[in-house]
Symmetry: C2
């Protein structure tokens, strides 16, 4: 058990905020989890994650800027674009698996509460 002092708490608060600045919001972690199954085209991503193209484009730009997703223009006719996770995005696996676990247990708790 870590002791909660004012100083350690404000450091922790800042670190959590840093993380939320990069992967917070409604979509970024969902996009990362969708891309874990392999690279995808823009429309495919939009469909699988259920995000409108306008928002998806903005989210992907931000993920790219933070080195989590890479964008590859393929020399096809017409030109196609593919998005894939960078190796650096692997550093988020602990965050993702903790959220995944919590999501499961929270859903179970609610389902049990309703029965």
């Amino acid at each position: 058990m870590v002791k909660h002092t004012v100083e350690s708490c404000s450091k922790a608060k800042m670190a959590i905020r840093d993380t939320l600045d990069v992967v917070g919001g409604k979509w970024k972690l969902v996009l990362i989890s969708v891309l874990r199954s392999g690279k995808k085209g823009f429309n495919e991503l939009s469909r699988e994650a259920g995000i409108s193209p306008r928002i998806l484009s903005k989210e992907l730009q931000e993920l790219e800027m933070n080195g989590l997703v890479s964008r590859k223009v393929c020399d096809t006719k017409p030109v196609t674009v593919q998005y894939e996770l960078t190796p650096y995005s692997g550093t988020l696996s602990e965050v993702l698996s903790a959220m995944e676990k919590w999501g499961y247990q929270h859903r179970n708790k609610i389902v049990q509460g309703v029965e």
Copy 2:
């Protein structure tokens, strides 16, 4: 290493989305991390987390609705209200500590990249 199949990925995606529905957004996890140091009044929370009262009130209501924060009206003059974490909020500790760790390492990475 967990194998990523279509089925396990869509389950994982749903669980992550469930978690984001409850604690996603800009403020909820920050509020929870602020409340980890003990119960707080409304103005204190607003100041410490740097959230406007209007948004804070909405966020606290949602956290209360999901059983993560409890609101206690104290019989003082004038009446004061205190917010504190519920025991259930403790189930989020793994999510919080993973985000804290990631925030630290990401900040270090950026600082090193700039130097």
